[in-house]
């Protein structure tokens, strides 16, 4: 294969896409998760069922939606359900294999914050809030999380726990009574981390090509555990890159135009 250059974001999206198994049902968050889920659908997982919280089920958008409820999603869906039905019958009902989420902050047990930076009542930054995330994180059989890695995002202590991942580690999530397994992978622009089977603490398991352990450490707000054998992530293939770039280009064209 010829030498291909790609960006860290492209590596992240492709690595996240590969985690989504064909034939599964995925509840998709907007932004990075949506890009990854659609790359998966357009590459190795043509039979993945994509569900967005606005109601579209088995949607096959040709361009990435800007919002969680763009017309593109409902027009290409097999059916569209109401919001109460989506959250009660489909998510709470246990129909979702993968919840695919982003985050503003994440901690070592893959708990996530999308609510505030700083104190809740006097926030430094008011973030959008929970949306569907707490129940997606709770009720999906597995959760994938994708976000860019830096010390502002990967923090020792969350300013606010919006959605529980592995909570306090060990079997604490199970003891809370949350139905799903919780986060099974965190995919960033630098690496992939998996929860330790016992402690549930995130462990560096695969470095993207050219990234060092030190670089990951510099961008993590706690002393990150490192697996005994750290793999190197397969770089994006020419096909994966082509599909991602075409998708991004179609999307940019579709979202341009007069305001």
């Amino acid at each position: 294969m010829p030498e291909t250059t790609y960006t860290a974001d492209e590596m992240m999206t492709v690595a996240a896409a590969r985690m989504l198994r064909n034939g599964t049902v995925c509840f998709v968050g907007i932004g990075l998760p949506s890009a990854a889920a659609n790359v998966a659908r357009l590459t190795h997982a043509p039979d993945v069922v994509l569900i967005y919280e606005s109601g579209p089920i088995a949607t096959k958008p040709t361009v990435l939606p800007l919002s969680i409820g763009d017309g593109e999603l409902s027009e290409t869906a097999e059916t569209v359900v109401s919001i109460p039905e989506m959250f009660s019958y489909w998510l709470q009902g246990g129909r979702i294999d993968f919840g695919f989420l982003g985050a503003a902050q994440i901690d070592r047990f893959a708990n996530i914050n999308t609510t505030v930076i700083g104190d809740y009542h006097k926030p430094k930054t008011r973030l959008p809030g929970a949306g569907g995330a707490p129940e997606i994180a709770a009720s999906s059989k597995e959760v994938l999380i994708t976000l860019r890695q830096n010390k502002r995002a990967f923090v020792n202590t969350l300013d606010f726990m919006t959605s529980a991942g592995h909570f306090e580690g060990g079997d604490s999530r199970k003891r809370l009574g949350l139905p799903g397994k919780g986060p099974t992978a965190v995919i960033t622009d630098l690496c992939m981390m998996l929860p330790d089977p016992e402690t549930k603490e995130l462990t560096l398991s695969s470095l993207h090509p050219g990234i060092t352990v030190d670089k990951v450490m510099e961008n993590t707000g706690w002393p990150l555990k490192v697996a005994p054998k750290v793999a190197t992530t397969e770089p994006p293939t020419a096909t994966e890159l082509q599909i991602l770039r075409d998708l991004n280009e179609r999307t940019a064209r579709a979202h341009a135009g007069q305001a």
């Binding site: 907007i30 932004g31 919280e53 606005s54 109601g55 579209p56 939606p65 800007l66 919002s67 969680i68 409820g69 763009d70 017309g71 999603l73 409902s74 027009e75 569209v80 109401s82 919001i83 109460p84 989506m86 959250f87 009660s88 998510l91 709470q92 708990n111 609510t115 809740y120 926030p123 430094k124 930054t125 008011r126 973030l127 959008p128 809030g129 929970a130 949306g131 569907g132 995330a133 707490p134 129940e135 709770a138 009720s139 606010f160 726990m161 919006t162 959605s163 529980a164 909570f167 999530r173 809370l176 009574g177 949350l178 139905p179 579709a254 979202h255 341009a256 135009g257 007069q258 305001a259």
Partner: protein, 264 residues
């Protein structure tokens, strides 16, 4: 009051009119505040917001919401914050005339620590701990829909969000529509709100701008991106409201003023 519409069919024209009429001290309920509540908050109409996700979808922050929460501008804003599943259950409870909505939710989240309206009860059959949220019963709900017939029966389709629940749970429901037709011609299970659950229907063509009305016009994603600049500073926001909302008499004039600005 609740102005509902999940990304799709957002009753923006109705929101503008509330600003024009200078309404104050409103408690606004909406799952996704979107640009419409950013405008109502920045224009000083809003005392309290009940919501579950307050961003500019795919773009970033709602700057007016943030300025109100972070700096009390133009006035302090009380928040009652939920997750989508909780709001959806609470709307369904309102429509069902039940005291609260029930869900398996909020477990492990910090939200219940900051919102006394999220409580937990024990299932009398299994002992499972479940979340309970007070039913949402708005004094007034406003939604936008595609069509109404001359009797006032309303038809909507596509992403229909919680509009049916928000209407059925409200004391009064106002619907703006793209068009009024002789016959709805809807299939038997279509989402039709019969005229007798609706207080008033008003035709406001294009009234969901910059969101969309499926079958009529697409979401104006470019305007959502532009709103980030308009709303970022108090001065540019106020100038926009003064020119396009307070400086216009109705939605048609609003549309003309937007076109003039675009062509200038």
């Amino acid at each position: 009051m609740a102005l509902e519409g999940f990304t799709h069919l957002i009753p923006s024209a109705a929101g503008h009119e509330i600003i024009r009429q200078g309404r104050r001290d409103l408690t606004l309920i909406r799952m996704t505040p979107d640009l419409i509540y950013d405008q109502l908050i920045g224009a000083g109409c809003t005392a309290k917001l009940q919501f579950s996700w307050g961003g500019n979808p795919g773009v970033g922050s709602l700057h007016r919401l943030r300025d109100a929460v972070e700096n009390n501008w133009p006035r302090p804003l009380a928040l009652e914050e939920h997750a989508h599943a909780g709001m959806a259950a609470a709307y369904a409870a309102g429509a069902s005339n039940l005291p609260f909505g029930l869900l398996r939710g909020y477990v492990g989240s910090d939200l219940p620590k900051y919102n006394p309206n999220i409580k937990f009860i024990e299932c009398p059959f299994t002992g499972e701990r479940l979340a309970a949220i007070p039913a949402i019963r708005p004094d007034v709900t406003v939604i936008h829909a595609q069509k109404a017939d001359r009797k006032g029966n309303v038809l909507l389709w596509g992403v229909v969000g919680v509009q049916k629940e928000a209407v059925m749970g409200a004391k009064h429901a106002i619907v703006t529509v793209e068009e009024i037709v002789d016959k709805l011609d809807s299939p038997p299970n279509a989402l039709v709100l019969p005229t007798w659950v609706v207080s008033a229907v008003c035709q406001v063509k294009g009234g969901a701008f910059p969101s969309y009305a499926q079958g009529y016009y697409p979401r104006n994603n470019a305007f959502y991106k532009r709103w980030d600049n308009i709303s970022r500073e108090r001065e540019s926001f106020t100038a926009w409201i003064d020119r396009h909302i307070l400086g216009t008499k109705n939605f048609d004039e609003f549309r003309r003023s937007m076109e003039e600005a675009a062509n200038a």
